[in-house]
Symmetry: C2
Subunit: 246 residues, 2 copies
């Protein structure tokens, strides 16, 4: 049984993900924002790869059912009602709606693992919930794959730290070595380095510094609140939704 | 000025490397073996992408001038005189020769950065020498790029640790944050984690464990000897050779 981390979805093949329990992380901010939206009553999130596809989907389904959300390089998209901030996902805005979302890295990571049987979204915001699910998979001797969205196809510190937290949770709080790939070992080392404090790894990461520089430090702070939006959400049939009964 | 690390050469473009001082690391074992060969009198190393190309080159240049070396998945290549072990690179075997080499990951990394102005090969075996060169580049406010060969296009712990040691050397032994990308930050964290002992990160890495499992633990040990083959070697015009006067 294996617990692997990949730092970007680049090059992942259907064979890499098939039969594994997959967790996708884009803690700044896509997966955090998805947790916030679902916590506040969104019916589902539909990740799409481009703004054009989002606009077409809104026309098809109907504007009263759909809210468009997302960003490109941290900036809102023209014609979209919402950006990619967890703080925007209020009950008034997303309750009962389908949220069609496109982001620079996070949605690409989800689309890359479509072939997996079971895909959960993970962030600080739902760490305890997904951690329990990862631990259950590990105890059942199922292979776990943690996919970091990364940043422009490269390593992102905040996702790697989150992957480390999730890996430690999967192992029941222990820090084992057996069955972990090198990337997973390095993520566990990051947890050793930064401890339990989410603020620091998020704020020193390039993504965190960019967001703070753009005046979006409140998003970094909100993304660092562990278990702020404690939902178990699965990506299935091209949409992210709460797991019934979880 | 920037000090960036990439964990694999995948997706590197000529624009990414142009104008930067580049260091390529494949500590288990390609860059270590190159240092050993040059230390023991090889005229140059010529990295090529396939065994077929190596055999063709030997025919073209002449069998008395050329030694073929390399591996595929840690195993020697039929028709090649040498494998990919630093311990094989004795004066008797490589002195005065051109060593044509093809390896699973290391030579691919070199070929990916051909467009860079200045490319050095780095390993534990020449850390102090390349560290001084990296520090000089950093002091001159030149951008530094450290390219890990990685393993099958994924993160490799031993290369990342080596990149961290080189990054710390570039900063004159300090552990700064400014100008480092997220991957470089994580590599410096690995140095914090493992300290100065090369044996541990090399032996716990997947590559190290595989080599030990294949009975090649002596190669892991030799690759962990800091400054064992203290050469400054540059990749230029498709060959790796000592920098004159260095």
């Amino acid at each position: 049984m294996r617990l692997d981390v990949v730092f970007t979805p680049v090059g992942l093949t259907p064979a890499d993900v098939a039969g594994r329990t997959v967790f996708v992380i884009d803690v700044l901010r896509a997966t955090t924002t998805m947790c916030a939206a679902l916590k506040h009553g969104a019916r589902a999130i539909i990740p799409v790869s481009s703004p054009e596809e989002a606009l077409r989907l809104q026309q098809t389904i109907g504007a009263d059912e759909v809210v468009l959300a997302g960003e490109r390089n941290c900036v809102p998209i023209p014609g979209f009602q919402l950006g990619n901030s967890p703080l925007e996902m209020t009950t008034e805005r997303v309750g009962g709606k389908l949220v069609v979302v496109t982001t620079t890295n996070g949605t690409q990571a989800l689309l890359a693992v479509q072939a997996a049987g079971t895909v959960f979204i993970a962030a600080a915001a739902n760490l305890s919930v997904v951690g329990a699910r990862a631990e259950a998979a590990w105890s059942d001797q199922r292979d776990v794959l943690i996919v970091c969205a990364g940043r422009e196809n490269a390593f992102a510190l905040e996702d790697a730290y989150t992957a480390g937290r999730l890996a430690v949770a999967a192992m029941g709080g222990r820090r084992l070595r057996r069955g972990l790939n090198d990337a997973a070992l390095a993520c566990v080392d990051l947890v050793r380095r930064y401890g339990d404090r989410w603020e620091r790894p998020l704020a020193v990461s390039r993504a965190g510094r960019d967001l703070i520089g753009l005046g979006l430090g409140h998003d970094v702070k909100d993304s660092a609140r562990q278990d702020a939006y404690p939902v178990l959400a699965q990506y299935h049939d091209r949409r992210v939704a709460l797991v019934p009964g979880a």
